[in-house]
């Protein structure tokens, strides 16, 4: 008996999982980060379709088993860069999705292309399982070990190499897997091994493939400008940081500067993260005069309030800048005389740019007396800080274009949730204030949602009269909200009015504001910001939120999609008005998600279910209970996995960490659960596992928010370990139902197994996207509860074919 190719299978698994995580990185650079759910769905589709292919072709393949396996590995090697290269050639542009009828087809093409490498990987791994059935537990161990190393290892590697070089590395690794398989499977065509090794070496020495960001991304636009050049590029899992210099057409970033201002910003470099931005790295030589433009932005308001009653308080004020980036907000604080500034930034690369690579240009900003920089996650920092701040400034880091086009409609943002604001407010001095600046959108969206979120945060913090603690102003492009610990004083209100008058900014709300004070400088058809703020503070708040045509319900940690403003009713109306400019008010990210769901259903029917239905297997359909069982556990598993990925974005600080860690933990421990299930003799083990996983999930729903708050300050590695430990018991329980069901079915009607595999695959492909959609509408907690219920139904269905 041949020995299974343990090393080759492990390497293949490393490649497939590393590729899945790497793709989320690559798609962030080319398009935008929330394509992660589509990649998970494409991976599942590849696996599912390979299962169907294996079932239909097993007799034909069996004769050439070794060669097919080796070729699948080699094809994976070629297709990992190949499919991505081809996908880049597809002129898919999400911004045109609603204008151009050909775009959904292009999206589908990208999806199918991204499925191909996973099809090959799935084929290789599935082939080994089919061929060496009796040794499957050891194969499983190698497979899962590889998956774990792949998904986490790629995170480490992305720190060291740019993503396109990592892709070359994975190609080389898959070629090596093919070469090793030639030895392990004792294939006689020895030149194949030499060929594969040669190709692996070639992949290493060849330059990385060009990754072309969408021409509509901010970086692409900046590089088109005459005189622009990239002067620095750095990579980490947090993003690709690119610095652009343009001496001919300088950046001149002064977002929403007052029209009364006559100055020009000093020289600046543009800092882009994954092609989004830019944020400005401003030249600073110690002289404050060139920074005067920073006093002409709405975000300068809190400094005028702080110094209004007692000018000396401004100098002694403790300022915290969250999301300090390349330092504009720190410069703003310095300009206004602050001598005590804490700056928090997540991405070490950006701090290094300011402090090392461009230290002379930036005036070594982060090492100036009175300025301290912390490289950590904002919420974790605030949560564990013992300081009391007079001002917490939340920087405006996303670009105007991205925000106004609804690019972030699907992404989680844990800075603008009720819980986040509560945490920030709890760290303020008795007269301290929180300042948040957002881009202005019309009709008002961000501003009113933020206002509603702040009201909820104040109320939850025990404030009985939130109206006395809130001030909002608007310029022509930005809105600034102030939330104060105490009530605003008459002196402060006077300072706010004066600040706005001098700069022709409008008052949107202050305690005691009269209607005729709104809408004076920057005229809107209706004083919509003032009216909205008043309605949100009034007794009819919920009615106003419900009737508003955009979704402005406060964001919470359970539903942290701050940038989701989409409502179906309004969408219908806006789509009808598309030719009168209505289209611009529709967030495209939501229709994209729906389009992805439709294509996931179509593709999985087409590639997983239809081939079986058209083959001889059409006569071996399992009974309804068995079919439902595999459908249910497919959906429930995916719901749990996606909900936990999104939930752990808060704890692990970044979507990529969350995808890698949660995927790795789920795979590894679900495999362990499967292994235990095989040796566990209990009759009702599925029921027991479902009860256990239900109990664990409910416990997590209750304790995770508090636990995350308490532990979020710990170093990355420790948080990763804690995440794995938290997921382990849950995933182990979730590993039980699949093999148990398969064994049952094998005993009853073995011919129906391909169907069980396919139905489960279908549910996984669709579930990955559906879970994201449900999470946006119902929240993560509801998705997890739904998963528990579906597991419950699965346990019942199992009785039907026991």
């Amino acid at each position: 008996m041949q020995r299974p190719p343990f090393i080759a299978i492990g390497l293949l698994s490393v490649c497939v999982l590393a590729y899945e995580v790497l793709l989320t990185r690559l798609f962030s650079i080319v398009l935008w980060h929330h394509f992660a759910y589509m990649i998970i769905s494409a991976a599942m589709l590849g696996y599912g379709a390979s299962g169907t292919a294996l079932n239909l072709l097993k007799e034909k393949i069996a004769r050439h088993f070794g060669m097919v396996y080796v070729m699948a590995a080699a094809a994976l090697a070629v297709l990992m860069p190949g499919a991505f290269l081809l996908a880049q050639q597809v002129p898919f542009d999400p911004l045109e999705l609603l204008w151009d009828k050909t775009q959904p087809g292009k999206l589908f093409a990208v999806y199918l292309l991204m499925m191909l490498p996973f099809f090959c990987g799935g084929l290789g791994i599935g082939l080994i399982f089919t061929h060496f059935g009796k040794q499957s537990s050891r194969i499983y161990a190698c497979d899962i070990l590889g998956a774990g190393i792949g998904s986490l290892g790629v995170i480490v590697v992305v720190f060291l190499l740019p993503p396109n070089r990592v892709l070359n590395g994975l190609t080389a690794l898959a070629m090596l897997a093919a070469a090793i398989a030639v030895i392990e499977l004792k294939i006689r065509t020895k030149w194949l091994m030499e060929l594969f090794i040669g190709m692996a070496l070639l992949a290493i020495v060849l330059p990385g493939m060009q990754v072309h960001p969408s021409p509509y991304k901010d970086l692409s636009q900046a590089l088109n400008i005459v005189g622009a050049k990239v002067v620095e590029e750095r990579n980490s899992p947090l993003g690709q940081v690119t610095v652009v210099e343009n001496n001919r057409v300088p950046l001149r970033d002064a977002p929403g500067m007052s029209l009364n201002a006559t100055m020009e910003p000093p020289p600046q470099l543009g800092v882009f993260v994954d092609g989004n931005g830019p944020s400005a790295l401003t030249k600073f030589d110690g002289s404050l005069a060139p920074l005067a433009y920073l006093d002409q932005l709405t975000s300068a308001l809190p400094y005028h309030v702080l110094g209004s009653d007692e000018p000396a308080t401004l100098e002694s004020a403790r300022v915290l800048v969250l999301g300090a980036g390349a330092g504009s907000d720190v410069l703003q604080a310095l300009y206004h005389g602050s001598k005590d500034i804490d700056a928090v930034e997540l991405d070490r690369n950006i701090i290094d740019l300011v402090s090392q690579r461009f230290r002379n240009f930036s005036g070594n900003l982060y090492s100036l007396p009175g300025v301290r920089v912390y490289i950590t996650e904002a919420r974790g920092f605030v949560n564990t800080s013992r300081e009391r701040y007079d001002l917490i400034q939340v920087a405006l880091l996303d670009s105007f274009g991205a925000a106004s086009a609804g690019l972030y409609g699907l992404s989680e943002n844990y800075l603008y949730t009720v819980e986040a604001l509560q945490t920030f407010l709890s760290r303020l001095s008795p007269d301290g204030m929180l300042a948040v600046t957002r881009w202005l959108t019309l009709p008002p969206r961000d501003a009113l949602k933020l206002f509603a979120t702040a009201i909820s945060a104040l109320e939850r913090g025990g404030v009985t009269d939130p109206a006395a603690h809130l001030v909002m102003i608007r310029g022509w492009k930005t809105v600034t909200l102030l939330v104060k610990s105490g009530a605003f004083t008459p002196g402060e209100i006077t300072a706010i009015k004066e600040f706005c008058r001098e700069r022709s900014f409008d008052l949107a709300y202050y305690p005691g504001m009269r209607a005729d004070e709104a809408n004076r400088y920057n005229l809107l058809e209706q004083p919509a910001f003032f009216d909205g703020a008043v309605a949100l503070l009034g007794p009819q708040r919920q009615g106003f939120i419900d009737q508003y045509k955009f979704y402005i319900e406060p964001a919470t940690d359970d539903r942290p999609h701050f940038f989701r403003f989409f409502k179906w009713d309004a969408a219908e109306e806006l789509f009808a008005l598309r030719e009168q400019g209505g289209m611009a008010l529709l967030d495209w990210s939501y229709p994209l998600l729906v389009a992805t769901l439709v294509q996931a259903i179509a593709a999985s029917v087409l590639l997983i279910l239809a081939p079986l239905a058209l083959s001889r297997c059409r006569n071996t359909l399992p009974g309804i209970p068995a079919a439902m069982y595999f459908l249910f556990i497919g959906f429930a598993f995916m719901f749990m996995e996606i909900a936990f990925i999104q939930k752990f974005v808060l704890f692990l600080s970044h979507p990529l960490y969350a995808v890698a860690v949660v995927l790795c933990a789920f795979l590894t421990f679900a495999a362990a659960g499967s292994w235990i299930a095989g040796r566990w003799q209990a009759v009702n083990k599925v029921t027991l596992a479902v009860i256990a996983l239900g109990a664990i999930s409910l416990l997590y729903l209750a304790i995770l928010p508090g636990l995350f708050q308490a532990l979020i300050h710990l170093p990355d590695e420790v948080r990763i370990l804690i995440s794995v430990a938290l997921i382990a018991p849950l995933a182990m329980c979730m590993g039980v139902p699949y093999p148990t069901g398969m064994t049952r079915l094998a005993n009853m009607s073995e011919q129906a197994i391909p169907w069980a595999w396919a139905i489960n695959g279908f549910a996984s492909v669709v579930g990955a996207v559906l879970a994201t959609l449900l999470a946006i509408h119902l929240g993560f907690a509801a998705v997890i509860l739904l998963a528990i219920m579906i597991y419950g139904l699965a346990a019942l269905a199992l009785r039907g074919f026991a």
């Binding site: 542009d93 400008i225 005229l523 106003f544």
Partner: protein, 241 residues
């Protein structure tokens, strides 16, 4: 309303008479009719029941299909934005008409455009006014547009490739300025180069999606007042609030 009807009748008449360019002409007339019917919803901004006759006549005259990539010519008269390369777009005709309308330009006015793009907006302006100055920041786009406008005989349009931040001091002051390039703030030199009583129009949003128009009006005393115009009649609230 009467004028609206007579203009529509005129356009319908134009569309049924075969003219030079055949199908493109008919498509253009249809596009203008569409833009015209969309205009009713914006009367509260422009202060008029419909777009001005000179704006409509200009939209009806400028051959948009000559300003888009050849492979998109067949879509040129759809009321939608189209890509023109380099991550730029040619705006939706309705938005072009609206921007031109709110600039309120007269036949003798001097207009500055920051962001030539394909040159379509400059051509529309050039049909209405005596001189248009246009600056493009992306070299190949600016060169192509300059060449195109020259070929089409727009002798009253001057183009330049370069930085639009400082405007066009040699030709200043201007009666109106349109800034279609992405800007983080309104460049103070542009306000300086605007005549008292003049207007600056800035569409804000992304490629393919104009969120709103910003209108800067310079008063006789040199101070400025701004208005923000939502191109679409969309009331965000239903019910009794």
């Amino acid at each position: 309303m009467k004028r609206h009807l007579s203009l529509s009748a005129f356009l319908f008449f134009c569309s049924v008479i075969p003219t030079h360019g055949g199908e493109f002409d008919a498509a253009r007339h249809r596009m203008v009719e569409e833009v015209l019917s969309d205009a009713a919803g914006t009367s509260s901004y422009s202060g008029r029941a419909a777009f001005s006759p000179n704006v409509i006549a200009s939209m009806d005259k400028v051959e948009r299909h000559l300003f888009v990539p050849a492979d998109l010519a067949s879509s040129a008269y759809l009321n939608r934005p189209l890509p023109i390369g380099y991550g730029q777009t040619i705006s939706q005709p309705y938005i072009v008409a609206l921007m031109t309308e709110v600039m309120r330009i007269g036949a003798g006015d001097k207009v500055l455009e920051i962001g030539t793009g394909s040159g379509y907006q400059a051509a529309v302006l050039a049909e209405i006014t005596k001189s248009v100055y246009s600056i493009e920041i992306i070299k190949p786009l600016g060169e192509q547009a300059g060449e195109r406008l020259k070929t089409l005989g727009y002798r009253n349009v001057e183009t330049r490739v370069g930085d639009g931040y400082y405007g066009w001091p040699e030709a200043a002051p201007f009666d109106a300025i349109i800034v279609t390039a992405a800007v983080s703030h309104v460049p103070p030199p542009l306000i300086k180069q605007l005549k008292p009583g003049g207007r600056i129009v800035i569409p804000l949003g992304t490629q393919f999606m104009t969120q709103y128009l910003m209108l800067v009006e310079k008063q006789q005393d040199g101070s400025v007042r701004t208005r923000q115009i939502l191109p679409v009649r969309f009331v965000p609230l239903t019910g009794g609030h």
